[in-house]
């Protein structure tokens, strides 16, 4: 066992021990009186209509995927914009190739009707 790890294990033991102790102390000290309304999930004060494990439209999934297209786009565009002068034409070409591929994906999704609600 490398000696360098000893503080790490002490840290882990302390962290776990602290959490367990706090939970235990709270359990002993607090009064316990459960009733139905109190155990209900708090949704902005509105009573929960259905269970959260129901089925929902697959459309949300498509929207999420489309969001990823734009999200990833930003992830790459932002560093490029920051280092634009250093990267020069190389950066322009790379980003153009990258955007072309993404835009093709977007056009495809649009043509397939992924953006039409209902």
């Amino acid at each position: 066992m490398p000696e360098g790890y000893v503080p790490f294990f002490i840290f882990v033991a302390a962290a776990v021990g602290f959490v367990l102790t706090m939970l235990l102390v709270a359990k002993i000290l607090r009064p316990s009186s459960p009733f139905a309304t109190k155990l209900e999930a708090y949704e902005c004060g509105i009573r929960a209509a259905t269970t959260a494990r129901g089925r929902y439209a697959v459309r949300y999934y498509i929207i999420a995927i489309l969001f990823v297209i734009f999200d990833v786009e930003t992830v790459f565009l932002f560093p490029w914009a920051v280092r634009y002068k250093v990267l020069g034409w190389f950066g322009v070409v790379e980003v153009a190739v990258f955007l072309a591929i993404l835009i093709v994906g977007y056009i495809w999704a649009y043509k397939k009707g992924a953006l039409e609600w209902v």
Binding site: V86, G88, F90, W108, K111
Partner: protein, 488 residues
């Protein structure tokens, strides 16, 4: 300084096949929604054209041998061989698919784009010289193949196949990735040549235990992808459920590419610890041959039978891997080429014969095909005889070179067991021949329609490939021999 960020043009030429295939795949995706349903078959033409240009691109890239992009990829004979192989498999698969798609679901052409993207991944795997590239290539190839396996969304069997393949495949890839993480931690690099250097330098070498764990974890990932025992359980279910042309594709292309990275990683990076992985591969080869051949004896569904046969053939290639020599690598390369032709050919016959909704996929359904369609039956016989390993077919020389390599590596027991296994295998292949020629034509054979043009080309091309490798094996073998010495 900024100008030097551009890669030299040779680097771009070295990945020409991948560039061509990506453009072709993207083109198919854009055109797909623009075309009217009756013109969708045009997309199959674009896919084939793209694959042919990529084949040319492979030849161009081969003129510029050497590492590219900071040694991320390397173009050598080995890479060229496997690139050409996966592209040819792609062409054959698309030829089989055109009619199949019109029959089953005429309204979507993304299928061809997915085939192209999968071939891109396999091509990257063939040329990758770095563990991260290997992982990326494997993922590109696998994700496209998962979708292809479930392409007919309304078909229950397709769904089962895709979900099983996806869940188990992702799990196996995670093992591979974990193995990569371990070796990166131990050796401090993901470049295969660098890893080899670190492992074989006594002052730098990390504890062998760490390297062993990494090699074992990566073995799990690779063995899964090539369907070697004990990680072969997924193959029969997935092959049976997937559309027949997709099965043809994924039993040849991804498997060949997976063997390519398997060989490259174990022959270069893990070469210094070969005494540790050789027994593992030896055992796996043994188990794979037994499981594949003996389970195939009991199958009635022809796709399932060919799936087990495909496992058995992976076992023969594993024998070549455990020989751990250049001649073994060359034998594995030759065998994979021969196997690709005969297996895609056999699945092309299944594609043709299965009819709407894959109704006729039992061995007994083939009864009397020899009388109804003598040409199709004769071509199928060539593939089956090659799968058995009868002389004058590619399968014979494939087995011959593998067992020769095994004998030279003094793997006597494995050779004996492999030969006995081939004898067992003859039984289930011959059973198909007997049913086809000596049984009275049943309902399936009587209603069989003429072979569609695309499937016909695929059948003849596969048969030509099988016979070419069986009559003039030196054409391919010389190239394989010269390419087997991997970059050290």
């Amino acid at each position: 300084m900024p100008a030097s960020l551009f890669p030299p043009y040779e680097d771009l030429l070295r990945i020409l096949p991948e560039i061509v295939l990506t453009i072709a795949g993207t083109l198919v995706m854009v055109l797909e929604p623009a075309l009217r349903p009756e013109r969708k078959r045009l997309l199959g033409g674009i896919a084939i054209a793209g694959l042919l240009v990529a084949l040319w691109g492979t030849a161009v890239a081969n003129l510029f041998r050497g590492p590219a992009f900071h040694q991320m990829v390397v173009v050598d004979g080995f890479a060229t061989f496997f690139r050409a192989l996966v592209i040819v498999v792609g062409i054959l698969a698309v030829l089989c698919s055109i009619h199949y798609l019109q029959r089953e679901r005429p309204d979507s052409g993304e299928y061809y784009a997915l085939v192209l993207f999968s071939v891109v991944g396999q091509s990257v795997m063939a040329a990758a010289n770095e563990l991260i590239m290997i992982f990326i290539g494997l993922e590109i190839s696998s994700i496209a193949t998962y979708v292809l396996a479930g392409y007919l969304r309304d078909d229950r069997r397709n769904n089962e196949s895709a979900i099983k393949y996806f869940l188990l495949g992702s799990f196996a890839t995670a093992f591979l990735l974990y193995g990569i993480a371990w070796i990166y931690g131990a050796a401090g690099t993901t470049n295969l040549v660098e890893i080899r250097r670190v492992l074989s330098t006594p002052e730098l070498a990390p504890p062998r235990f760490l390297v062993g764990v990494s090699a074992a974890l990566m073995f799990v990932g690779f063995a899964f992808k090539v369907s070697a025992a004990p990680f072969q359980v997924w193959a029969p279910d997935v092959y049976q459920g997937a559309p027949a042309p997709v099965t043809a594709f994924m039993s040849a292309g991804p498997k060949a590419a997976a063997f390519a990275i398997f060989l490259r990683v174990y022959m270069t990076a893990f070469e210094p610890i070969s005494n540790r992985w050789e027994p593992v591969v030896w055992l796996s080869a043994l188990a794979t041959m037994f499981v594949g051949n003996f389970a195939a004896l009991l199958q009635n569904n022809i796709k399932r039978l060919l799936a087990y046969s495909s496992i058995a053939h992976a076992g023969y290639v594993m024998v070549a891997v455990s020989a751990h020599s250049e001649i073994g690598t060359a034998a594995a390369m030759f065998y994979l080429a021969a196997y690709a032709f005969m297996n895609v050919g056999a699945f092309a016959v299944v594609t043709h014969f299965a009819r709407q909704g894959e109704k006729y996929v039992d061995v007994d359904d083939l009864a009397g095909l020899g009388h109804r369609q003598p040409v199709t039956a004769a071509l199928f016989s060539i593939f089956l005889l090659s799968l058995i390993g009868i002389p004058l077919t590619g399968g014979f020389f494939g087995k011959f070179y593998i067992f020769k390599a095994a004998l030279e590596a003094k793997l006597y027991w494995l050779t004996v067991i492999g030969l006995l296994n081939s004898a067992v295998a003859a039984y289930y292949y011959l059973r198909i021949l007997v049913v086809m020629y000596f049984h009275e034509p049943g309902e399936a054979a009587q209603t069989v329609s003429p072979v569609a043009p695309g499937v016909k080309i695929a059948l003849w091309a596969s048969a030509a490939g099988t016979l070419l490798l069986g009559i003039f094996p030196s054409v391919i073998l010389d190239f394989a021999d010269r390419s087997a010495a991997l970059m050290k």
